[in-house]
């Protein structure tokens, strides 16, 4: 596949991984919301979804199952809007049947990820967010190996407050240190639930673990995002939460994390 000089990532200004050792903490949700917040802030954003077994982003951005086309430089990403300010590439687009399982061992996953990283014609982007599956295995090593030829500006680590989660995220921090990936900071998701009926706050998944983890490991704490059924419903239905609930505490939390991310990326 012919590529421009510097490859398909040549005009991508910043590349950020979204990682967690733990599954189900909201990596894809946080990736989606940060992408929407970055777009809201006037940036051109891309999302690369390398969760081959469980690609969630297409549903969260309500792009359905579009056909993916190729151009001279490679695959054309799917744009979520006419302005082309938010682009997405996911294995979800390549599956004929959305219920089909991708039952691949590591070597085959590595080959697909290599293609994904190098062969998507992103064009000009301010930030490319890379959503990953949980763990410290093939996908993560392959993404890094392939991105290293271009750039990796850092990683955001997502956790929920409880120890079972931070216990796995500690290992992800070790992964970052061992592979030389800068940790931009830690996001604590599902951080408390405010009952819509009586406003009582319940710490369903415990409290404070993300902040403690940041202190323990010398990382930056980027902020907490509460459990918000309005957010989970928007994610479910592929609606833009930021447009739907711009006055919410949840949006303020996400926006604050987005601002910290932008500030961190400018410095590097």
């Amino acid at each position: 596949m012919a590529q421009k000089d510097g490859g398909n990532l040549a005009q991508v200004r910043r590349v950020v991984l979204v990682l967690s050792g733990k599954g189900g903490v909201g990596k894809s949700t946080i990736t989606t919301e940060l992408a929407l917040a970055l777009r809201h802030a006037g940036k051109k954003v891309g999302i690369l979804d390398v969760d081959l077994c469980g690609p969630s982003i297409p549903r969260m951005l309500s792009v359905g199952r579009p056909e993916v086309h190729q151009c001279d430089s490679g695959w054309v990403p799917v744009y979520t809007d006419a302005d082309q300010s938010l682009a997405l590439m996911s294995i979800g687009f390549l599956l004929e049947d959305p219920d089909d399982a991708v039952v691949w061992r590591g070597p085959k996953k590595n080959a697909m990820i290599g293609q994904f990283v190098s062969d998507v014609a992103w064009g000009e982007l301010d930030v490319l967010l890379v959503d990953t599956p949980p763990g410290t295995s093939d996908e993560h090593l392959s993404v890094l190996e392939n991105l290293r030829k271009h750039r990796v500006d850092g990683a955001i680590l997502v956790t929920t407050p409880q120890a079972v989660s931070t216990g796995d995220v500690r290992r992800e921090i070790t992964f970052c240190k061992k592979t030389g990936v800068r940790i931009i900071g830690i996001v604590e998701n599902m951080s408390g639930f405010v009952c819509p009926h009586c406003s009582e706050c319940s710490n369903i998944f415990s409290k404070g673990g993300g902040e403690e983890l940041a202190k323990l490991t010398g990382s930056t704490f980027l902020g907490s995002v509460p459990l918000d059924p309005a957010l989970t419903t928007c994610i479910e239905e592929g609606k833009d939460f930021i447009q739907a609930f711009p006055e919410s505490a949840t949006f303020r939390a996400i926006n604050s994390i987005c601002r910290s991310l932008l500030s961190s990326l400018e410095v590097s």
Partner: protein
């Protein structure tokens, strides 16, 4: 020969891979021509060894989900606790989540060590009749990361199934990581000749989970793994102050109930969210003991009881089949 021989290069695809001997990392490897000839892909002798080992294990139950964070480890741990409450039963819990081993913490035995003897690795005992094995016990620090590619993870899983000295067991519960990849293929492959009783699939109510769980169900069908049923976890939250119910993970497409109807699978139960569950897991206690009156604990007991009765009836009816 193991999946990744000790003298193999860094990106060895594994001796059982289709690419064995043919992939670019194979260039220069001393095993290259052996692997390329196909000799490395003869049936793995471990499969027969594991089948022999598993003859003393009556029921082997996999706990699966396509989705992460739905409560597989929580369910596996509490299923093990509930089954072991009958002290006449021998129960074991095997954690094959190599990268994110949660079971030691949830079972309250983090920091324990495993020992090797002539008869293999000794698991860690939580109770006299409840044994646990996890890679967590082989790590020296809570910060240690297991940064392994597929072939090396497969090798570890083979060792867990072949080399752990479980003794005679009534139940072996296997907790898995999310997805449909190396760990899942390896467990099914290595237990080919040992017959898995079935899989319990865990989900949460929202479509973002169900869309991954349907893939897991397809995986089970592809590898001919019987599905015992589906558990819907985090199914609603009752506010402790005003007792109103909120759907934090809304079942926008009908939840597990609708999915089970469509796919003709049993829905084993719907477990509500309870902050005390997370706390118990963090503290390594069984919430079935700590808060037995919790609505969540009650649903667990119903699920486990019906499973237990089903298995024991099955054992009684098919007693002869365990001796073939």
């Amino acid at each position: 020969m193991s999946d990744v021989p000790t003298n193999a290069p860094e990106h060895c695809p594994g001796t059982q891979s289709e690419q064995a001997g043919k992939a670019s990392p194979c260039q220069g490897c001393p095993n290259q021509s052996f692997c390329a000839s196909g000799a490395s892909k003869l049936p793995d002798p471990a499969i027969a060894q594991i089948a022999e080992k598993m003859k003393t294990v009556k029921h082997k139950i996999l706990v699966l989900s396509g989705k992460g964070g739905v409560g597989k480890s929580t369910f596996s741990a509490h299923l093990a606790h509930a089954l072991a409450a009958d002290t006449t039963k021998e129960v074991a819990l095997l954690d094959v989540d190599i990268c994110g081993p949660s079971i030691p913490r949830i079972m309250g035995i983090e920091g324990e060590q495993v020992h090797q003897s002539g008869s293999g690795w000794s698991p860690v005992y939580v109770e006299d009749n409840l044994a646990v094995m996890s890679i967590g016990f082989l790590l020296s620090s809570p910060d240690d990361a297991v940064i392994w590619r597929g072939p090396k993870k497969n090798g570890m899983i083979k060792q867990f199934l072949r080399d752990v000295d479980w003794g005679d067991l009534d139940y072996l519960i296997i907790d898995t990581p999310p997805g449909t990849s190396d760990e899942h293929l390896s467990v099914v492959q290595y237990l080919t000749a040992a017959s898995i009783t079935g899989a319990v699939i865990i989900t949460t109510p929202q479509e973002v989970s169900l869309q991954d769980v349907r893939k897991e169900i397809r995986f089970c069908q592809k590898v001919k793994l019987p599905i015992i049923g589906v558990v819907e976890n985090m199914s609603g939250f009752v506010c402790p102050k005003c007792t109103n119910m909120s759907q934090i993970f809304p079942p926008t497409t009908g939840g597990a109930e609708q999915m089970c109807k469509m796919l003709n699978l049993p829905l084993l139960g719907k477990v509500p969210l309870d902050p005390r569950i997370g706390r118990s897991c963090d503290e390594g206690m069984s919430f079935l003991e700590v808060v037995p009156d919790s609505p969540a604990a009650k649903v667990y007991q119903v699920i486990v009881q019906s499973e237990y009765e089903h298995r024991e009836t099955y054992t009684h009816t098919h007693r002869s089949s365990f001796h073939t």
